[in-house]
Amino acid sequence: MSVGSAYFDYPWRRKGLDHDLFSMRYLVDSKPVNWPGGKPVALWVSVDIDWFPLDMGSKPFVPPGGMVKAYPDVWNYTARDYGNRIGIYRLLDVMTAAGATATAFINGEVARRYPLLLDAVGEAGWEIAAHGLDMGHLHHSGLDRETERKLVVETPAMLTRGKNRPVGWHSPAYGESFATPELVAEAGFSYIADWVNDEMPYRIDTKAGPLVSMPIAYELSDKRILFEQNQRLDEFTSQIRAALTTLKAESTPEDGRILAISLSPWVTGQPYRIAAWRELMTELMADEAVWCATGCELAAHWRKLAEAGAATP
């Protein structure tokens, strides 16, 4: 019995991280970041607008919400597509009524199939950002570079409305290959939102230039808490309230934080859930400490500070 001597090689055992993509940073040691709204907590709601192909298969893994029954899994296909027909309009109405905005991470295929949906999101004033081609095209190291490059380049072209080209990227199911950040930078994006290791932006360095890594919500998402973990609706909203309480206690107008929440129209856009979301959104928007912003606003502000040496990368 032996694991072999190579198992005792630790090539990255050094000060700092075990890769060169970005530097280690402790949030407590980071320079304070003041938000343009003058409020301590920036509320960043991101909405995944997904399309799950009926024939998406299961390689290299099935993302949450993917097809899991025998083909044709119309049960799951249509339950997801419900979000694009019905749920998203409920979310748009609630956010508009609350005077709130959001970032929509949209699969390119949604824009191609449902241009009316893209228009509705654009007209609501939400940020339109890229979420890959569709939920059947995951980014992973099994893809060759050219195939992945094509996905990264084609998606924003499908989402461009007039002169508004997306600047934010969120990979389907937070999946990346080793090449994804570089391809995303090369395609002209300014921020990427896949790494859930921080609560404030930081810088990712790629051969094609820097990206801002935005602290997208993973745990505080309806996909995670309601769909995957089967918690109750009031447990979802109470955890958001608890996070806000913590972040308010840890922040000041001069040293801001981000409360990131991620939603899916096919989850929170259900009739029995939307009232709880309306109530929470109304409460958040009435909070004196909260400034509701989009991902591109937050990333651009942070990037400006970082370039001036006023934010810790």
Partner: protein
Amino acid sequence: MNERKTTLRDPGHYRYLPYRNRPKIVWPGGKQLAFWVAPNIEHYELEPPVATRSPWPRPYPDVLNYSHRQHGNRVGFHRMADVMAKYQVRGSVSLNVALCDHFPEIIERCNKLGWELFSHGIYNTRYMYAMSDDEQREVVRDVRDTILKYSGQRLDGWLSPAISNIESTQQILAEEGILYTLDFQHDDQPTPFNVRKGRLVSIPYSVEVNDVPLYLQRNMSPDDYAETLIAQFDQLYAEGAVSGTVMCMPLHPFLTGQPHRIAAFERVLAHVSAHEGVWKATGREIAQYFIDNYYDAFLAFEDKVNAGNLETVA
């Protein structure tokens, strides 16, 4: 040690010991419950080698799961440590020791807070499965040297990385002079271990009220977590009046240190701290106190209750 050609039907490390009529434990100062908190301060490698099983559920790089765990070191650790300091609770750190090299700032704060460091292997992505005895000794040596270098502390405690210990691990720990192990979940009190050389005790850890199983496997909300831990405490505290019990709170800063969970953690510490009969200890202190005061009595009681029983020896 020879390699085993067959599998065991039980681990063989401990004898049967009924909860009733054991020698009475009283913790220092007449306390009835030894409470200790074990933050698992870990690093999971982005591209670990695979000897037995892959550490990541997704193809490398598993950006989602890697970055989720990394939150603990970038953000969650300090939030969690602040709450512990507020309630005068010292941590006993289940440490992937490579973290000393990667993130020495975290170890500096642990040292300042007076926390114990014990072994959780090199990385949480390097398992002990299928290691030879010499390979296991090499892990012990590395851990011992690294902890000494970065904290000046002696290595006294052992939780195998991802609890990947094998049949021979505990024998090797005893030979290497380790005081206590946490790989076994069979009791609410310290117990002696059957080892051929040296002496080893098992201290209650917990996979039952550990934040990973509760939050990631049982999918609990923070409120349910707090209620679970408080119920665990209340029962063990009551039983501790009969004979001293141990309650461990195993933590992972990437879960407990999240903004939506930290209040639940604080609620538990506030509840525990409101009880007079609690000894807030470290793993090392519990092990040493048990060895000094109760080890022999427990061994004698084991002999008595197992007289005539099937003997299980590793």
